[in-house]
């Protein structure tokens, strides 16, 4: 039976040494730094492979400084990365061009292998840098960073409320799901998904009710459409140095030829 765990919710939130210098960086600095790493890696063709090495080195240094061990990191990467590499491995068998290698009945082409190598390197770097952002920054801090980086406020507000109720709603759904399972629901084809539709319908009505109650409770506490101001984010020298340092390392590696 399909588990209820595409996204293992328990595998989110900061981990490692929570008081490390990396954890204490301004969220904007972490978002910008890690996005730079991802974009540099994604934009680099295979010939510029030193860029991959530089990005990976920056991520390893980041993880070490944050005290995020390989085991904790792998737990977060496993689900996504195995699926990604599983798809990527098919590429060499379906692309033709270049030299041809025979492995018994299977044959792969050089062009396919090159694409696979590049795709795998980029996917690993991109996924790791997103996982490291999550491992060193709380979701509310990511949202504050994004808001300060001029992401529209409405989107940030929706995301903030979504996160606040996500865990309650997912648990409610899991309870309904176990209720189905305990009554013998074992769908074997997609056509038997109807019961889950009724779960979704009931969930929507409950969720809507919850949303209305939350809204009324907020009104009762003086909510007028704006959230109270918090202490503003402050960029300090370390934050600027972090972004500049990361950008300098990965861009230099990207722009110099191997």
């Amino acid at each position: 039976m399909g588990g209820l765990c595409n996204h293992a919710l328990e595998l989110t939130g900061p981990t490692g040494n929570l008081d490390s210098r990396v954890h204490r960086l301004d969220p904007r600095a972490k978002i910008l730094g890690l996005i730079t790493v991802t974009l540099v890696a994604v934009s680099a063709p295979l010939e510029r492979w030193p860029a991959y090495v530089a990005c990976a080195a920056v991520l390893v240094a980041y993880a070490i400084a944050a005290g995020v061990g390989p085991r904790a990191l792998w737990r977060r990467l496993r689900v996504v990365l195995l699926l990604v590499l599983g798809v990527g491995v098919l590429v060499p068998f379906v692309r033709s061009g270049g030299a041809r290698f025979e492995f018994g009945m299977l044959s792969v082409h050089q062009a396919g292998l090159e694409i696979f190598a590049a795709v795998a390197a980029k996917a690993i770097i991109g996924t790791t840098s997103a996982a490291l952002l999550g491992a060193t920054t709380t979701f509310p801090a990511v949202l504050r960073g994004l808001e300060a980086l001029r992401v529209p406020r409405l989107l940030v507000l929706i995301a903030a409320f979504m996160y606040r109720y996500l865990f309650v709603i997912v648990e409610e759904l899991a309870r309904m799901r176990s209720a189905l399972v305990s009554r013998g629901y074992r769908p074997r084809t997609a056509l038997q998904a109807g019961a889950m539709g009724r779960v979704a319908g009931a969930m929507f009505l409950r969720t809507y009710g919850r949303g209305e109650r939350v809204y009324l409770a907020m009104l009762a506490r003086g909510y007028n459409g704006t959230m109270p101001q918090r202490v503003p984010l402050r960029l300090v020298g370390t934050d600027v140095a972090f972004v500049a340092g990361v950008a300098l390392i990965v861009l230099t590696a990207r722009l110099t030829t191997a």
Binding site: M162, T207, G225
Partner: protein, 239 residues
């Protein structure tokens, strides 16, 4: 690998810069329209409700159903969101859900976020939303007709998303179209059936209890909307 859920989330590295950029611009444009629509139609103070509904979409995306050969698919929910919230607000909610998955769960690359929002949110929400809206005046005003339209469109939305994903991968030069398109459409024809079954039952449950919450079309009094036995009791039965 036992029972891995199939998903369309494109990771970093599978798309060329051009494709990721164009998809990103389209996604930003749709979200911008969504923000204007929300500004016009939505009292800003109702934002908490949108947030809770985004959490609902996030959660129902975890509903897995069997597809074939031990793999499972999961609900995408773009059509469901479009029927319940209207096409443009649905775009906003889907964009928030997918961006959160990329930033927090590393599911779907940040460089491919625009493409993922386009494939799994915007295309489905706008296509299903507008086609149902256009067809509504022509359809008989009955429960069955609305649910049939919802079913067909939710299947189509999944197929269009899968086709768009294959096209983006092919244009990027990662995987040729001749390989991905048949495979993606084949698997997603089955995933689409699960999506349609879940969306239709969910909409039918909402229609039976709170027809006023269907934002996409003005349902009014419908023929054949005798009380369905389950939804009213669903809370007690299922918890």
């Amino acid at each position: 690998m036992p029972d891995l859920p199939l998903a369309l989330h494109i990771p970093d590295g599978f798309l060329s810069g051009g494709v990721a950029g164009v998809a990103g611009l389209l996604a930003v444009a749709a979200v911008a329209v969504g923000l204007r629509v929300a500004d016009r139609e939505l009292d800003e103070a109702r934002v908490p409700l949108l947030g809770v509904l985004a959490a609902f979409i996030f959660a129902v995306q975890m509903l897995n159903f069997p597809v074939a050969g031990g793999t499972s698919g999961h609900l995408l929910g773009a059509t469901l969101a479009a029927v319940l919230l209207g096409p443009w607000i649905a775009c906003l909610v889907m964009a928030v859900v997918l961006a959160t998955q990329a930033f927090v769960f590393a599911d779907g690359g940040i460089s491919a976020l625009g493409a993922n929002v386009l494939n799994m949110g915007i295309l489905g929400a706008l296509l299903a939303g507008y086609l149902i809206r256009l067809a509504w005046p022509l359809l008989p005003k009955s429960r069955t007709a609305l649910l049939a339209a919802v079913g067909v469109m939710s299947w189509l939305a999944v197929m269009v998303g899968a086709a768009a994903t294959s096209a983006e991968l092919a244009i990027s030069g990662t995987i040729p179209l001749s390989t991905t398109l048949p495979a993606m459409l084949g698997v997603h024809a089955l995933i689409g059936i699960g999506e349609a079954v879940i969306t239709v039952t969910a909409v039918s449950a909402v229609l039976a209890v709170r027809p006023d919450l269907i934002s996409l079309v003005d349902v009014g009094p419908l023929a054949g909307s005798e009380p369905a036995p389950l939804p009213a009791r669903a809370e007690g039965v299922l918890s």
